[in-house]
Symmetry: C2
Subunit: 327 residues, 2 copies
Amino acid sequence: MSEFDLIREVFAPLTEEAPGAFSLKDDAAMINDGSLVVTKDIMIAGVHFLTKDPLDLVARKLIRVNLSDLAAKGAKPQGYFLGCVWPASIKREKIELFATGLREDQETYRCPLFGGDTTVHATKTGPLTLSATFFGAPSKSGMTMRSGAAAGDDLYVTGTIGDAGLGLRALKKEEKFTTVDKASLAGRYHLPEPRLSLGAAIAGLATASIDVSDGLIADAEHLAKASGLRAELDASAIPLSQAAGTWVGTFNDQSEAIAELASFGDDYEILFAAPPAMRRSVSVAAKAARTEVTRIGALVRGEGAVLIDSDGEAVQINAAGYDHFTR
Amino acid sequence: MSEFDLIREVFAPLTEEAPGAFSLKDDAAMINDGSLVVTKDIMIAGVHFLTKDPLDLVARKLIRVNLSDLAAKGAKPQGYFLGCVWPASIKREKIELFATGLREDQETYRCPLFGGDTTVHATKTGPLTLSATFFGAPSKSGMTMRSGAAAGDDLYVTGTIGDAGLGLRALKKEEKFTTVDKASLAGRYHLPEPRLSLGAAIAGLATASIDVSDGLIADAEHLAKASGLRAELDASAIPLSQAAGTWVGTFNDQSEAIAELASFGDDYEILFAAPPAMRRSVSVAAKAARTEVTRIGALVRGEGAVLIDSDGEAVQINAAGYDHFTR
């Protein structure tokens, strides 16, 4: 049972009367006659964050991963609803620390709490489970969809890829880094940066958009699939941070190392498509949003997603995105 | 640490910039310039439902407890977002059964799924955790608030009180009933009936309204507190089903038995206030909505909530509503 099959076969049929649900094929829905874009993401201790992660950082990540969805849809955040299920052993100080994190990022992103529910597991070991429903206003040109790209469109991505995944490995002591690199990479894991300005700047310009949460290659495939196309990514074009670049440099086969970075997930960058005729406009939008944007490939006829090395060969990819149901 | 202190002291300050959050003092929020009423309720296996409960009934209860909040606010349901966290051992058939229940009640209440998130606990024993965010259109007279009642207002409740609590005891084999009564009471526990028609009919008429989820007396206190008043409930007026009436008949002190029913929770009836001058209008609204409504007391100056027996004496109450943080 894959997560995607389950959504398509079991849950999507429940949205038949809700055109704004887009058959659950997008990252957000539109409600109230298209006046609001809404997204909901769950985070669970031990799955989406480390059980020992400080709760203010967990709170901020919860806000940011949801805002990342709104960013990819070009929407402006307005507020959110929060559901918390605490372990029975939770102390009030921990909940206060969590609230401190919420406040900090609410203020940064001007996105207040509107309501929710807070409750407690029946057992001391029940994992902290967080659910947030964020809503925002669509841009004037409407919600930027996951579908709608054409063969020949360029593919772009914001920021750098693979840092959060390396950060997680550093935190789990699976990889060694310099102190400086470790801090930088762990920071990317704990605190992704929702690309709200860029998402707003490319609304109406991008033909399709998705936030990179499952891994660049997996999400490129999701985006391509929504338009019935194939994504071809240029391994040498994938933007890397200095720390990730150093890590890649330790491999003999650097394309394979890049493929691994592009399979990690948790980047919360925006991957989007735009016609080649729009390259100048994309560059202007990126500058206006003060966000690094890199052209990393194109959409072509076909299906799937492939990473191509400097010899023009497809790189063998081991992991194809995170699936909660097939771990 | 009580649930209510936590909400007031830790979470309510996070809503300062969100007037539609009503400082988390109501059962729902208003968003998008008052165009939508939104509520969010969590349900956890072993806390809000029995681990062995069939998942189609759990799904329907999830829909109904959320719709009950919208009903109490006089709002018309439009759709919902769903978050599911499944135990790692979950089988696809179980998820399909859950979806069958969702479909059944979505159709009954014309309230489709718009989106959400579905994921899996890291452990086989992680309890099924469900989070739903429901939205609906406010009535023409706006959202019926929990606050706004005046001293002298009558208090009314829909349906009958205590059945769900007795049903839970029957299911847990803590109390014995006839087969017929057990089925009826368990039915009330598994499938509360959201009082949507009545909630809509009294919008603009009720001065304050709340749905009874924590127990009649506890929720009467919540409603009274929101208006700075005291609730006085007449024990002999509390509406009881035949099964609950039979149960009460087995006690020497029937007022104490009624007090217990009024402390159980899970009723999902609507408790509301209206001025005595509106008694005829309330009766007309109840008829129009084909819903039993009983006048059970009044709001007076003071604070708290009290159940008064046939001698005019306050009945001693043991339980004052369910609190997730002080069990």
